[in-house]
Symmetry: C2
DNA sequence: TTTTTTTAGGTAATCGTTATACTATTACCT
DNA sequence: AGGTAATAGTATAACGATTACCTAAAAAAA
């Protein structure tokens, strides 16, 4: 049915070897035959069969993006699709296929990887952090299968990973608040056990430490990643004798709740209380006031992850290099204007 | 390096043909040898090479999900990832790979498809509606390449498509408002040229028509899919002598703006004015009040699209069947309680 | 001019799996 | 018993592209 290399060879009056050499830009073919064969290819509308080629090359030309997707929690991970798109943009450029595999548990992730590696269905794999387990990572390392972990797991010492610098995010949040002249800062975090939350808090505290600033201990609160939790945490803060003049919310939902609590007290943002949060979700700019945010360019992160993976695939004994994506500040209306030199005097 | 069917055959003392038959559950193999060979497979940790198998079968075992992704417009299409996940869940079950291809224009979509079909890199393709052009669809039809279009394009008469029933959504919105006892209904739409908007409006009007209801002409407005546009449209409505007692907002952002305008006038939702909108975005339940919504189960839609595609792949001359996904109502607090029988008396 | 090197191209094996065609054995009927 | 049919298994040719290894001619070097 489809036209093969044999058809081209016959039609052009050369051997299949010659056609193949022309296909792969190999030398020792005269310009004349090269042109002629190419002409025939065009005439016959010949496209080399990718299956056959990959099979011969013992590769699949396929990259897997493996992630845990819990439906209806999309809000908690709206970044995933953007990372995927980022990765896809580089795999496409390098003529690789990017397959999406969604699993619903780390066990399922593990069995998927077993299948992928065993059956050679991919040349490499991008594992979204939430899908990893020690089991899985150990297997990938043992199999010497090219992989990158997006979001650093605590046990992946022999793997490449790429992660967000959450500590730095915390620092930047505090740094910007200071620039704006806020000094009594509160921190509304997620669950105490959550690593991201912990790192952001650490960054916040370390910045304070380094710059000789302090805060009240009861200005630091832990809760859930929900609007309700943000509301109650903020209400509590507002019940104190001394109020904070700015609050770092670890999450957009917490921020939303906090905004409501502040409005309820007839206080104004950013005049009475400044607010800064993390991750630029659509929400951030839609709520009132639009929130100043420390964001991560996750598309870029996907880009980078895929780039390193492809490098690993083409050079299996590349040394382990891991990367950290830097946050950046998006200023909106929940913080007052930074103090100019004049103000500072 | 990797263990092949030959290794298994040698180790088990049978021919490769026998091993292959066992692998594919073919008959005429004694239970004894079957068990023995399976034992050897396990011992050697043998996994059939997918590349080779697919090559022999002249298939790729790969499905493409093709979509236009404009970064930073994710909010306008948060459904895409869910459709993808829905499709993936069925392809996985049927042992197919699902590749994601993101393009940034319909031209790029076309060249991608040319490559995919020509090089046999996929057995079928799911085209997200926004990526289609007449050009592309014609090519797929002419090539007799299995494909499903998600979101019905006006020119795909020879293709399977699967779409949302936007007219029905409009009807359902109105039907529910009537159930709640609202009678003076306004409609805040997107751009007049937008097909989705038009269909929803048509559904709304046709329900009214059928049930002998009417509305003022100036209760129907067209604007942009933004919060600002929603705000100004609603403000205008509220400047009239007779106010609507419910409003259908064609979009979450429009609804957000409208909510603000209503609040500004110190009117209450749902007591003074009821509100209903379309598509259940995270936003819908987060804003105040949480919005009653006519939603589409897009995950299910992805499921269905993939299911039909796989059916097409396995039976190329299946007749063209297209599908419409039905909307469903999610009741929240922006509408008052439906009237019971007693109220109606 | 002869020898060597380079260029141009062909031959045939190969990748791992499957399918077709075959042989050999056993079971089943009259 | 003799013949047919079913069962169990083997040998081998594909699938389409690539490549190592040839050969022959042309070009360069001696």
């Amino acid at each position: 049915m489809a036209v093969t290399i044999k058809d081209v060879a016959r039609e052009a009056g050369v051997s299949v070897a010659t056609v193949s050499k022309i296909l792969n830009n190999k030398p020792y073919i005269s310009e004349k035959t090269r042109q002629h064969v190419k002409e025939v290819m065009k005439q016959l509308d010949y496209h080399p069969n990718a299956q056959a080629s990959n099979f011969k090359y013992k590769r699949s030309n396929n990259i897997i993006f493996l992630a845990i997707t819990q439906l209806h929690t999309a809000f908690h991970n709206p970044h995933m699709f953007e990372i995927l798109c980022g990765a896809e943009s580089v795999t496409k450029k390098k003529k690789y296929n990017l397959s999406f595999v969604g699993v619903s548990s780390t066990e399922e992730a593990y069995t998927s990887v077993l299948e992928i590696v065993g059956r050679n269905t991919a040349d490499g794999i991008l594992v979204h952090g939430s899908a990893t387990s020690r089991h899985l990572v150990d297997f990938l390392v043992k199999s010497n299968f090219p992989h990158i972990i997006i979001g650093r797991p605590p046990f992946a010492s022999a793997s490449c990973w790429i992660d967000i610098n959450n500590r730095m995010s915390g620092q930047m949040a505090m740094e910007y608040l200071e620039t704006c002249g806020y000094s009594k800062i509160a921190f509304l975090g997620g669950p105490k056990s959550d690593e991201i939350s912990r790192h952001r808090l650490q960054g916040f505290l370390s910045y304070m430490n380094i710059n000789g600033l302090t805060t009240q201990e009861d200005f630091i609160k832990y809760g859930e990643y929900t609007k309700e939790s943000g509301f109650t945490m903020m209400e509590e803060l507002l019940s104190y004798g001394t109020l904070p003049d700015a609050v770092i919310c670890e999450n957009n939902l917490i921020a939303m709740g906090a905004v409501k609590a502040i409005e309820n007290k007839n206080l104004s943002i950013p005049k009475d209380i400044g607010m800064i949060t993390f991750d630029d979700y659509p929400l951030s700019q839609l709520i009132d006031p639009p929130l100043t945010v420390i964001d991560i360019d996750v598309y870029e992160m996907g880009n980078q992850a895929a780039t390193i993976l492809l490098r690993k695939i083409n050079n299996k004994n590349l040394s382990v290099q891991s990367f950290v994506t830097l946050p950046n500040l998006i200023v909106r209306s929940s913080t007052r204007n930074p103090r100019t030199k004049k103000d500072a005097l």
